[in-house]
Symmetry: C2
């Protein structure tokens, strides 16, 4: 904990960038802190809203599970990310399962506190709206991927997205191939083969377990954008 400040964490969230200091402090004072072990569930789909969550540290996944046990990961979160906006906004059930992939520290703002803040602060409302619009645009891209593109193109797309976004860098951490597979709605084996295809095409290289992007243009081509 030491000199960590929840206010600072909240301030980093795009939603709260424009919000007055007092307001931030007010919210921060009501935030609830929890830590999680690797593979520990944070909350389950269908449960009453867990409120708005902000990641202090650690890596988290949001996922769905099919009746026959297949996992589909909708999104990864890292430090400075927030999640569960949907339930925090409408007060209905959590839309997905979330789980800590590493040790993680999360601050949670109760639904009632957050919605009250929205009622009061027009700027906050606009910021959340902006954030949500960006989210939907991103999701639409992912749907297009799932509906229209083969595995290799989805993978190329994934690598492109994460080339810039440091949010979930491909480097060492807990981003295993199985995780990528579950995120792209495919299998580890297919990821392996597709990585080989991209390597053959000259888009990427392997440096001792590391995926290195060699040619963005070739990658873009493979992504069929």
């Amino acid at each position: 904990m030491s000199d960590f400040s929840v206010s600072t964490l909240l301030r980093q969230l795009p939603y709260f960038a424009q919000v007055a200091d007092d307001f931030i402090n007010h919210l921060a004072a009501q935030a609830v802190h929890r830590t999680f072990q690797p593979d520990e569930a944070i909350f389950w789909e269908g449960e009453p809203s867990a409120g708005l969550c902000a990641v202090e540290y650690g890596r988290i996944k949001a996922y769905k599970v099919s009746p026959d046990g297949h996992e589909y990961i909708l999104r990864f979160f890292g430090p400075g990310d927030s999640f569960n906006e949907l339930a925090a906004l409408d007060g209905a059930a959590n839309p997905v399962n979330t789980m800590a992939m590493t040790e993680a520290s999360v601050w949670m703002i109760h639904t009632a506190v957050f919605t009250a803040a929205l009622q009061e602060d027009h700027q906050l409302c606009l910021a959340v709206l902006r954030g949500l619009v960006g989210r939907v645009r991103h999701i639409v891209g992912r749907m297009e991927d799932l509906a229209l593109r083969p595995v290799t193109a989805r993978l190329a797309n994934f690598l492109l997205n994460h080339a810039e976004a440091a949010s979930a860098d491909l480097t060492h951490p807990a981003i295993t191939r199985t995780l990528i597979a579950n995120h792209l709605a495919t299998t580890p084996e297919s990821i392996s083969r597709s990585l080989r295809v991209l390597e053959q095409a000259g888009a990427i290289r392997f440096d001792r377990q590391q995926i290195l992007i060699v040619a963005l243009d070739i990658l873009r081509d493979q992504a069929k954008l």
Copy 2:
């Protein structure tokens, strides 16, 4: 046009339910009207924002096309629906293509007008936020479908959604099997075979080209929810 009133149309949109009359009239005064022939494009993906669109009459589809010509329909619209909120909200390019499937009449509110309204009216802002949250929840369900469920389950799910929602009823209109196929990211042949499976299972019946839902519970079971 006769005694049709744009204000009344806007008032029906969930976004504008709580907004003051003057404000509605102000927006209505600035709305641009256009009609479209069957199979006529309304706007293209990537073009500058066409603004917020409201359907007076007709049936419209929002869709993406892959490089190899496959079409994926994200959503259908009918009278009283609005679309292109994303571009209207952030002013960036239209996220998808839209096309009139039948003769259609659409009213468009310029992006600048709409965003100005949002700046001014907190209630409007909250209403749009609510609407968007609902949209994302729905989309997440569709993603889960695409990622985790086979065609028959997706189809069962589709039939369930449209059993209540009169918005796009399965009855006579332009909702052909090819359209359903493109909406569920599959082919007309697969839809045909899956319909047969659902019939066999006792979930639906055919009455001269019509799909009739016989047993909601069996359908729910097939949807693997």
